[in-house]
């Protein structure tokens, strides 16, 4: 069939499909008046069929070597139809996000429990080891941290401070912004560098473990135990576990590259990226909670240290319980 006959025979179909696409674009941009426009000759229910016909015309036009302009035009119509038909997903927005946090995230953590355990070991190992070592050899801290930094920490946790964990000039909201900006960045780095065969995640887990362990051990031994521990008690559960989970997500990426199994490395990486990103959704939410607690609850000195320790212990219990049990009821 010659191109001219082909065009005259089908151009009406193409126009109708294009008009439907244009109208849909305007609706999606919420342009005023789009919904009120007269419904085109093409009802929504007939769109898949019209799309398949365009696909067939495109294949014919290519095979018969019709002019490039016509092929391009059909290619574009098919592409736009493809985007709409296969790109459309029902979005349940907030309800779905909440459901994920309540059930999906704890399940995702338990699904990767081996990696989470490994990441936790890499992170909490140095924390606990240094905490212990520095009680016996306090000078060991000078291998790890500069004296100026230690002096700053002493200032932050000085028992005479009206608020803990910050210098007197600092503001709660400023600290909240800083915790988000800094801590979540650490989490993202720990995750992303896992792409280097897991090495980056291992590095950041151990590095942050050493840094936290050194400061905690030093302040405990130097007589700042009460202000320090009553400051960190509240947000420690959320923050430390979120770092460990970010590390686990990074190790998931690295593991896919080291041991891709029966897939190619690229395919294994893509398959691992989905669950890894799910872990990061949850870790991000945990970092957010931690930053909130750290900025607005942890510095308070109005409550006796014992209260703050108890709140901290309860939060550890709640977070671990959430990760261990969340979403089990409906998992069966």
């Amino acid at each position: 069939m010659r191109q001219a006959i082909f065009e005259t025979r089908h151009v009406a179909d193409w126009r109708r499909f294009e008009a439907w696409l244009d109208r849909n674009d305007r609706l999606r941009r919420r342009e005023p008046g789009a919904a009120a426009e007269p419904v085109d000759a093409l009802p929504d229910a007939d769109v898949p069929q019209a799309y398949r016909r365009i696909c067939q015309h495109l294949a014919l036009a290519r095979d018969r070597q019709y002019s490039p302009e016509l092929v391009d035009r059909l290619n574009q119509l098919a592409l736009r139809g493809h985007h709409l038909l296969y790109g459309a997903r029902a979005s349940r927005g907030m309800a779905r996000a909440l459901e994920f946090l309540l059930t999906g995230f704890p399940r995702a953590v338990r699904e990767e429990r081996a990696l989470v355990a490994a990441a936790a070991l890499l992170f909490f190992g140095p924390v606990l080891a240094l905490l212990a070592v520095l009680q016996w050899y306090p000078d060991f801290v000078y291998y790890l941290l500069e004296p100026e930094k230690l002096a700053r920490y002493q200032e932050m946790y000085s028992p005479t401070n009206k608020r803990l964990g910050m210098r007197d000039a600092d503001d709660n909201v400023a600290m909240f912004g800083f915790y988000i900006w800094n801590n979540v960045k650490i989490g993202f780095q720990t995750f992303a560098t896992g792409l280097a065969f897991g090495l980056g995640s291992v590095f950041y887990l151990v590095f942050n473990g050493v840094a936290i362990g050194a400061v905690a051990g030093y302040l405990t031994q130097a007589g700042y135990a009460t202000p320090f521990w009553s400051f960190v008690a509240g947000h420690s559960a959320m923050e430390l576990l979120a770092i460990a989970i970010s590390g686990a997500a990074g190790l998931k990426l690295g593991g896919a590259l080291i041991a891709p199994g029966l897939r190619s490395r690229k395919a294994a990486l893509m398959a691992a990226a989905r669950p890894a990103v799910r872990l990061m959704y949850g870790a991000g939410a945990m970092f957010l909670c931690a930053a909130f607690i750290e900025a607005f609850w942890s510095p308070l000195t109005a409550f006796p240290p014992l209260t703050k320790y108890m709140v901290g212990a309860i939060l550890w219990g709640v977070v671990i319980g959430y990760l261990a049990l969340g979403g089990r009821a409906r998992a069966a």
Binding site: M1, R2, Q3, A4, I5, E7, Y51, R52, C55, Q56, A59, Q65, Y66, S67, P68, E69, D72, R73, N75, Q76, A78, L79, R80, H82, H83, Y86, G87, R89, D170, D171, N172, V173, A174, M175, F176, G177, F178, I180, W181, V184, K185, F188, F191, A192, T193, L195, A196, G200, L253, K266, L269, M270, A272, A273, R274, A276, V277, M280, Y281, A295
Partner: protein
Amino acid sequence: MLDTARRIATPEGIELALRLAGPVPRAGAWALDFLLRLAILAVLAMILGTLGGFGTGVFLLCWFFLEWLFPAWCEVNWGGATPGKKALDLVVLHDDGTPVRWPAALARNLLRAIDFLPLFYGFGFVAMLLNRDFKRLGDLAAGTIVVYREPKPRGFQVPQAAPLRPPVALTLAEQRAILDFAERAQGLTEERAEELATIPHALVGRLDGRAAADRLVRIANYLVGRK
């Protein structure tokens, strides 16, 4: 053939053509986004700087949002492109050509943290050169591609003229070249169109530019089957 077209197969059994964007336009889009971010942060710093500690906190939150989440949000909700990409007509899509959604958008944007290493997107650039689809590491993991937005069809058509049967038999590729010329001649300068028209000697003989172009258009009319 060595080109940047990528074909994606659809369930209807056809292939759709997409044009991949290489490192240069993508670096340009990144630079635009970077400048935009810088400008927004500078304005915010001026406004929030007057509010003391509270302003500092809000500023850091905005910075965090602009750096990590805003690009992903744009790619999901704003036609698959950050402002810089939009300016350069680029779109982010899934590997199968569908619009990008949250998991993939977030993965590719969080993984910028490693593409950026060791300096100026060094890893990302090397990764882009090592695969066919110009994917940086974040794209590889997220399963996304960056392509050019399809231009609106220019609406060129073979101009009407009395059809003329070509004096010699033409192969399919030759027919296609004639059709392509007849359509595109409207977008070329007259001199260039006439220069091109004198190339196929077998069809136009010794005609000069203007007449040769007209003859090719007439042959094109014959080829599309006009009466």
